[in-house]
Amino acid sequence: MAPLRDRRWRPGVYCAVIRSTPGAMTPFDRSTIFSMRKKILLVAVSLLAVVLLSGCTGSTTWFGLSTSGDVAYLANNTAVHAIDVKTGAELWSFSGEASSGIFSFGKSPKLFVVSPIVTADGLVIISNSGNDHDMYAVNPKDIPDPQKPIPNIVWKFTNAKGHWIAAPLIVGDHLFAPNSDGKIYVLDLKDGQSVKTAIKIIEPFKGIDGQPGRLWTQPVSDGKRLYVTSLDHSVFAIDLETYEIVWHKDLGGAIPGGPVLGSDGMLYVGSFAKQLERFDPATGEHKPVLDTNGWIWGTPVADGDNLYFGDIVSGVGGYFYSYNTKTGKLNSDPVKLDSEITASPLVLPDHILVATEAGKVYAINAEGSTLWFEPTKGKEYTTPIVAGDSVLVSYIESDYYLIALDNNGHKKWTFPAGK
């Protein structure tokens, strides 16, 4: 027979350590109270775990990064930061209109992940990817309080129905802003001092299954036409005078990256159909020119006759491709890197930099790839940029959002500093 008192936890046996009987449930003694408390605690912990684990889905997306030369703009979820590229010091930040007290209750949180762009007048166009779908033009030269450097809003556009994922494109006096609602909003930049409205909304087509085609990437333009890709498998050309769709083609796979105009005057697009396609911009005639190992995510980068891009291969990693548009062949065998490549490569004078999901930055030249920079932790999805004499690389799930590297891949500064 089991001893009545025991220091071990055994159902039905009084345990001296917890001063109760596990499994016992009576309304009169303390073991009941223990059991009830335990149950309530179990439920509370379970619910808390649900909430916490649900947060494990992590960030919504990666950060936006751009530069106007001596200033870098980083959209890191909560705000857009203007950063001095020489020192890494913050010049100003913008997190939407200030709202406080009762007026802030129930407001959708702002989310800044789209790469800001700068107009010829120096206005910075900032997209809020939160549920409000606002787009702002702020003037960095107009900062009322130097102690709290926040630029004034010049205008605000609020008519979009979907999330902003793509950066807008400036063509002449107009801003072409593709939205997840499947529309391209065309805003007038000329009199940016007043509140703007869309002068024309282009709704190219209904995407697959009749749902609006999601526009996730910045279009390109040759000055006469706008070339747009959609997550819903489509590439289309829009006449910039009439805003009419000139042609529209389905690639059979999602296109999260943008198109690129090659030096041969052709348009190149990669997709989840694991092919690089060449388009005649005039007619929209297209044909696959290269089969890839995985899904092409990032926008290919053109440099002379060459196109550079990467892919993602589930469970394997990613491959870097160097394709010659003149010969129609790869310059070298695809270079297998440690993890997925979503960012576009960055062309430097001596080599191409390729950032992978694992956060590593590789320098690739004709001889092969060299590990250029390896972070202690963090993931890299955003295309690195050159700002001044630095290369800026943005990280999520890291101690810093941004790191500036010199020509040899050595750290110059981080933002925030000191981490």
């Binding site: 009545l4 008192r5 159902p11 039905g12 046996v13 009084y14 009987t21 499994g23 016992a24 449930m25 009576t26 309304p27 009169f28 003694d29 303390r30 073991s31 009830m36 309530i40 179990l42 439920v43 619910l47 775990a49 649900v50 684990l53 649900s54 494990c56 889905t57 992590g58 960030s59 919504t60 997306t61 990666w62 959708s108 549920n131 129905k161 979907g162 999330h163 994922i165 697959i208 299954d209 749902q211 999601r214 996730w216 997550l231 498998h233 059979g252 796979g253 999602a254 999260p256 159909a273 694991k274 899904w295 995510w297 993602i312 589930s314 469970g315 997925e340 979503t342 999901e357 999805y381």
Partner: protein, 300 residues
């Protein structure tokens, strides 16, 4: 030489002897805990299975993610039907145990001797075949499914670049989803099942789905609350508290997470009511303000 068809005398079958201190219930508990550990240790695999199941259903139902979630919920309910049935049985047995006259007499008799009382309690548990953990173990098994469902819905819909990228790492090659992506994420009046739902009415953003989640959870917990002879006992108090706590929790949960998850909660609540109803354990009078103590006898 022996013939292969020689009949050898059959050995007398003996019941499997469990180690001392091990009961069938203990083994069940260990099995459940083992399953949970296994699930959390292979978390990516669990999410992968669920993501691929969801995409498979989406494909066969004609590209409707809302319907896919509903069918997926039904599938989960069917798979966990025995567990839910056991949970109901366990909860009911515990309730009956609390109302048992023999037990009440023992409580009075050994009111001052806790150890003897516990011993007697375990004896009655054994005699009546009650597992004190019988009602909570099946619930525990369902937690990994709920935890995994959040990333499953978020990734499968791929409303944001990061979630679409995550999907690429979970989807099996044979699914050949390149032509299928992005999945159609609208359903009924909801524009995107991957995002929290808000419907603008008279200038106000109303979380209709979250409200429905709160209401159905409240109704479900009320209807399925085990009847108690003494509403003042601890178990009844806890059930009452949970009846208020859970709807509020799930309301706030649905307020902030993918509306696809809210579709799962609503479907799950309705299915739970249906299952309880089929087993004759729905207590409709609990919905009435004065119907708390009404006891409905379950169907045999």
């Amino acid at each position: 030489m022996k013939h292969t068809n020689d009949k050898t005398p059959a050995l007398p079958t003996q019941p499997v002897q469990l180690p001392q201190g091990f009961s069938t219930e203990t083994i069940k508990t260990i099995a459940v805990v083992g399953l949970l550990v296994l699930a959390f240790a292979n978390w990516s695999s669990v999410i992968g299975i669920m993501v691929n199941a969801m995409i498979f259903i989406y494909r066969i139902v004609g590209h409707n993610f809302g319907i896919a979630i509903i069918l997926f919920t039904i599938l989960i309910r069917v798979i966990t039907w025995p567990l839910n049935a056991q949970q109901m049985k366990g909860a009911s047995a515990m309730q009956e145990f609390q109302n048992d006259k023999e037990w009440q007499a023992i409580q009075k008799k050994y009111a001052k001797d806790k150890e003897k009382l516990a011993q007697e309690q375990m004896r009655i548990y054994r005699e009546k075949g009650i597992n004190p953990f019988g009602s909570c173990l099946p619930t525990l098994i369902q937690f990994p499914i709920l935890f995994a469902l959040i990333p499953t819905i978020t990734y499968a819909i791929g409303s944001t670049p990061l979630s679409l990228l995550k999907l690429s790492s979970y989807v099996y090659q044979f699914q050949n989803v390149a032509s299928l992506l992005p999945l159609k994420s609208n359903f009924l009046w909801m524009a995107d099942l991957g995002l929290p739902e808000r419907t603008t009415l008279f200038g106000f953003a109303i979380p209709i789905l979250a409200i429905i989640v709160g209401l159905t959870t409240y109704v479900q917990t009320k209807l399925t609350m085990p009847p108690s002879a003494d509403p003042n006992d601890q178990a009844a108090q806890t059930s009452k508290m949970m009846g208020l706590y859970m709807p509020v929790m799930l309301f706030f949960f649905s307020l902030n997470y993918a509306s696809g998850l809210a579709v799962y909660f609503i479907t799950s609540n309705l299915l739970a009511i249906a299952q309880y109803s089929m087993m004759g354990r729905v207590n409709w009078r609990n919905l009435l303000p004065s119907g708390q103590s009404q006891v409905q006898k379950p169907k045999k």
